[in-house]
């Protein structure tokens, strides 16, 4: 049987994983944008 502590722990784990996924998604988005601007800068002879 699942205890209240286990349920709370599972919720905490999911919350932690969710916040990490959000940060990772933002980081990937920022990287993609940065690569786009780097490509343009290199093409313009920067």
């Amino acid at each position: 049987m699942t205890t209240p502590e286990e349920l709370q722990h599972a919720r905490d784990v999911r919350a932690r994983q969710r916040s990490r996924s959000v940060v990772m998604a933002f980081a990937l988005l920022a990287f993609a944008a940065l690569m786009f601007f780097i490509t343009i800068a290199r093409m313009s002879g920067g």
Binding site: E6, R20, V23, I38, R42, S44
Partner: protein, 304 residues
């Protein structure tokens, strides 16, 4: 049937993203980023703003990666020192493997991105600085010799060289002098700190100079290292690599530094409570480096 108790399952949580940020020592990073940026700004070639931003980002990420690998390797030491016991690994908020993967991943990412955005010479110097900090300082020197930060200090001296290399693709006299300045600044800076946290280092078994040679010898070494440091700080002016604005600022700041180092040398206190001169020198040494590099950039931009 077995009963399930509250302790029968793994109660640990995955590390929070804030713990990964803490692993990069953000406060130390600010000085690294600033000196790297100044190295880039005083270079005779100007970079495209996006590429300049990327180069600084790579210096910051490289420093963060080196810090993460340092914390991964030194988790046992950090647990023994009050100053570091709250870090993610000794506090049990992160497993060591995550720290290792994060540090190695960030190292490769920063080095490759630097090469792609600027040039592969800057990328190689960045890689060298990470390897130097992790392998030479953390793994080899730190636990073996009281000269650990004298040689290991070179790791923190690379950023202006990397910033310059990112802009120009080479290294000349001025960035080498800036490297020498930070290299010679590191021992007085860290020894001032290690004097008033001596018991922490002694408890962890780290052979810092105050632990091995005592406070008196350390204070003398602080003063002795401050002399060539001051010379390296002023040198760009008579060598024609910087103007009078920088020369005046470097001379004034170095005189204050030397006066504070002399006060430390004259201090006889054995307990941290009586080490006000050491604490003042430690705080001023950070301001000193910020002000010197700021003056160098101001000198170049105002004269130009």
């Amino acid at each position: 049937m077995t009963s399930v108790t509250a302790t029968a399952y793994d109660t640990s949580l995955p590390a929070d993203w804030r713990d990964f940020v803490a692993l990069t020592k953000p406060r130390v990073m600010s000085l690294v980023v600033f000196t790297g940026l100044c190295g880039m700004l005083v270079a005779p070639v100007s970079l495209h703003p996006v590429l300049a931003f990327t180069a600084i980002l790579c210096i910051a990420l490289g420093a963060g990666a080196a810090a993460a690998l340092n914390m991964w390797y030194e988790a046992d030491l950090d647990a023994k020192m009050k100053r570091t016991a709250g870090r993610p690994l000794p506090a049990g908020r992160m497993d060591r493997q995550s720290a290792l993967h994060f540090g190695v991943g960030l190292s490769f990412f920063s080095v490759i991105l630097m090469g792609v955005a600027t040039n592969w010479f800057a990328s190689a110097v960045l890689a060298g600085s990470i390897l130097f900090y992790v392998l030479i300082y953390t793994v080899w020197l730190k636990r073996r010799t009281p000269q650990n930060i004298v040689i290991g200090g070179a790791a923190g001296a690379f950023p202006p060289l990397i910033g310059w290399a990112a802009a120009t693709g080479d290294a000349s006299a001025l960035p080498v002098l800036l490297f020498a300045l930070i290299f010679l600044w590191t021992p007085p800076h860290f020894w001032a700190l290690s004097l008033f946290v001596r018991s922490d280092y002694a408890a962890a078994g780290v052979p810092m100079l105050p632990v091995v040679a005592g406070a008196r010898a350390t204070r003398r070494q602080i003063l002795l290292y401050s002399l060539p440091m001051a010379a390296a700080a002023v040198a760009p002016w008579p060598l024609g690599l910087a103007g009078p604005l920088y020369g005046a600022a470097a001379a004034a700041l170095s005189l204050v530094f030397l006066a504070m180092a002399a006060q430390v040398n004259a201090n006889k206190a054995a307990e941290p409570e009586g080490m006000a001169p050491e604490k003042r020198l430690f705080a001023f040494s950070i301001l000193y480096l910020f002000a010197l590099f700021g003056a160098l950039v101001a000198d170049k931009w105002i004269i130009a």
